[in-house]
Subunit: 574 residues, 2 copies
Amino acid sequence: MKISNIDLSSYPNSEKIHVKGSLFPIEVAMRRVKQYPTVKIENGERVEYPNEYIVIYDTSGPYTDPNIRIDLNKGLPRDRERFIEQRDDTEVLPDITSDYGRMRRDDKSLDAIRFPIHHKPRRAKEGKRITQMHYAKKGMITPEMEYVAIRENLDNAQRGIPTYITPEFVRDEVAAGRAVIAANVNHPEAEPMIIGKAFSTKLNTNIGNSALSSGIEEEVAKAVWSCYWGGDTLMDLSTGDNIHETREWIIRNCPVPMGTVPIYQALEKVNGKVEDLTWEIYRDTLIEQCEQGVDYFTIHAGVLRKHAQLVKERLTGCVSRGGSIIMQWCVAHNEENFLYTHFDEICEILNKYDVAVSLGDGMRPGSIHDANDKAQFLELDVLGELTDVAWSHDVQVLIEGPGHVPMNKIPANMEKENVTCKEAPFYTLGPLTTDIAPAYDHITSAIGAAIISALGTSMICYVTPKEHLSLPNLEDVREGVIAYKIAAHAADLAKGFPGANVRDNALSKARYEFRWKDQFNLSLDPEKAKRFYLETRRNAPDADDRFCTMCGPNFCAMRISQNVVDKCDENHEV
Amino acid sequence: MKISNIDLSSYPNSEKIHVKGSLFPIEVAMRRVKQYPTVKIENGERVEYPNEYIVIYDTSGPYTDPNIRIDLNKGLPRDRERFIEQRDDTEVLPDITSDYGRMRRDDKSLDAIRFPIHHKPRRAKEGKRITQMHYAKKGMITPEMEYVAIRENLDNAQRGIPTYITPEFVRDEVAAGRAVIAANVNHPEAEPMIIGKAFSTKLNTNIGNSALSSGIEEEVAKAVWSCYWGGDTLMDLSTGDNIHETREWIIRNCPVPMGTVPIYQALEKVNGKVEDLTWEIYRDTLIEQCEQGVDYFTIHAGVLRKHAQLVKERLTGCVSRGGSIIMQWCVAHNEENFLYTHFDEICEILNKYDVAVSLGDGMRPGSIHDANDKAQFLELDVLGELTDVAWSHDVQVLIEGPGHVPMNKIPANMEKENVTCKEAPFYTLGPLTTDIAPAYDHITSAIGAAIISALGTSMICYVTPKEHLSLPNLEDVREGVIAYKIAAHAADLAKGFPGANVRDNALSKARYEFRWKDQFNLSLDPEKAKRFYLETRRNAPDADDRFCTMCGPNFCAMRISQNVVDKCDENHEV
């Protein structure tokens, strides 16, 4: 199918399957790749040996489900709504709570760009906490927990192999704060997923317009596109016009949890004048976004007034947008960061909608030179303190991490985060392992992301080839997502995550047996793999070419190797 | 300038410089990037602060030297010839030694494709060994050793900062076998370079036609192109027509050491029939290539007959072309590998021309499943044994390594190589850290290459996006080289190699100060960085845009950060 200008037909020989829950009436969507049989010639006869289906973690949501009709004007099915209702601890509000949200709704000039359907917001009933962490601490297993347990088990579930990942295990990890299920009650379109070191490594993608670019349709298409290629979560970092309306379109059509940095929009509301920011404007922005369905907020509550002077010692100062805004505010008012001073109130808002907090690293290093410096690690100490505060309100916590870090300094980041933030899931941007490769920073950072994920980071924020230079287009999003799928998967292999190697083994077997189409279909990007293959190959991969293109027909190592093995078999010796 | 269809003008604001030796009359070429001044407004006045030149290791040879006229039909200047002559331990032979070489020379039908100039071959005088290792063990410092010492010091040399890398240190490392200067006396066109863990990490590129592709002109252009982007050495892996003549063209125009896998050509000589391979044909091929000027040979002498049965336990068998050929030969003849049984004779040939041996890993794993298995590590034991043999003949040794290896199994490779092969430079292909990303294997392998280099691997063999699928075109070569420059440089930063961070710091300073052109010019690929920038930027980078394209004008973290620092300075407090 096609959405806007994007083509969602790059996964041949795949089908959507649904694995049923045993505790709850849930259906967990996965992608299954069918393989061709292995063909052998035995005693002059052609014999076929079937190859099993391979099940793949699927972030593409209903967009690849032929049984669901996609209509961007209606949004995705709101599957999770019934479970939220059944818990009976929320209520549908008669009206939007945010002043700004109501103002936008009542502005007739926005009708033309508004998402056509208005869903009334849902919030915890008076006195209730409705976060997954709250339930987990109470010993409750939710449908969301069973959903992610099945989803993480993947191939093993398919093969009936039990692993440690049970609903009860999920509950335990969420209760301890070691894992996060970001699932705002106002975003029932999203399929539950889990972020935590005991689970498969996740990747976040960023989209969003800026003053220099791009329209609503383009942003929605980018969101769908990034999920299609494998983005596990999505941050809308828009800073241009109509942020509120753009976000509504994206959330209603987004099958994965979505995050924002609310200070960006708060600043838009005061026309970019940092000095004019107030707690009241920020608070209204939080509520506005909670009621739209944002699943996690990046909040730079760890940047303190006293940190500003440390920036002077740096080569590249403060490279976090949110962090620099807060720093400027603190200096202008000579006051402490209002996100820090109001952090309890923030948590009391978040636990009414089940929005997770992603504690921003405003002091992340923007260059190799500044890695692991005092400013960075002092902020991490504050994030540890705030983690305790959030958890005391049953708010789920992610900890954001760097940035630009040379390989030898990466382990200290993970170690310090583990101790200071008590194993709250670490969520890092890369890190980039050198500064000298603009236009290739998806690679400089995939190296760092793979290393830090193998050490226990739970989610990595993608970087595209356009980082530092420009805004990514669709092709850049694809390149960035695939680079990060590689990093995440390489880390899962290194961690020994259950079943992670099933896909590698199947693809390598297909490769060794010259089942070219299976090799493509099992890869992260079947379309590109096939396209590259066809560049120097005269025949389509249907042809039974028993050599690889690198070697050519006379020299194919794998064919020779097979012949030798056959020969050994004949001789019963070597 | 342009060579064939390739454009060598991607490094703006750069100039070639030459650093003179103090022991020998050598001139070591480097590239120097000029920077624009930092502009500040002080008391309403525009003040310029100059930024220093940044010196960059330069593998592009005379192709970027405006004072040298390039004529592919004449080949590059043979600068090193005079030092070889002065040593007075070699002689120019009256004729080509190899039967095959003479046959090709006398074949008139090849005149049209033959390199126009014939240089008579040079060889050690009777009873002499002429390897850099031989000189080093005798306590001799050669011009090549001083050359590489200066070359490795780079920025430090420019700034007058002494490091540990002296000519005497180089001699010591070469004598101990921990470093290799691959410098055949018949390839005086190449600029000396050094491969060893105490030095900057090097990268090798592969080119070469196969039966499915490509002409001589295209291969020469690819060779130049790969050096231009940063390839430190070059392997010609041709397996198609006219290997001998193609190689001559490449060597005569190649400013970096060139390697081959002689068994490929030997097999061509017996029309691809492995059974017909003989020691005599192989030996003649070695001599043919020694006299053309090949600097290092991959020789799969560590594949033993008994290893063949271990292949049966593997998912992807033997994926080394050379290794599989040898295995097939052993099985067909029921004899031991003739490269192993004749290894002393091989070394006695190599030390007459100073050709290094790169001990091939015929049993390298071709999939995550097969990593670190018995076949692989048993072969590594044999390579350790052969290292001693080669060193006893004063032949320089590289050890080739995997392959496909998950991140958690990478350290064991380096540790075992260090012990078994006594720190002979490790030279690895990647390793690829997952199997599931054909079309992106420059990334899967750059991750592994960065990790293993940081652990002490001396040279990494690049992988292009076309790996497993197709033969690389020029754009793929560029992508592969840059991915590996990133891996190598990230490793140098992690190892704390002297001066490695100078370029990162300069580029990051330029970035922070919005000196866009300097940011591009200091990057690994200035042309692409600028092109990406211009995609969403309305103005050329000449415009003094004091914000980055990612953030847009209202939100630029770096500008806000600078304003805050200025404000702090004004207030003398925060």
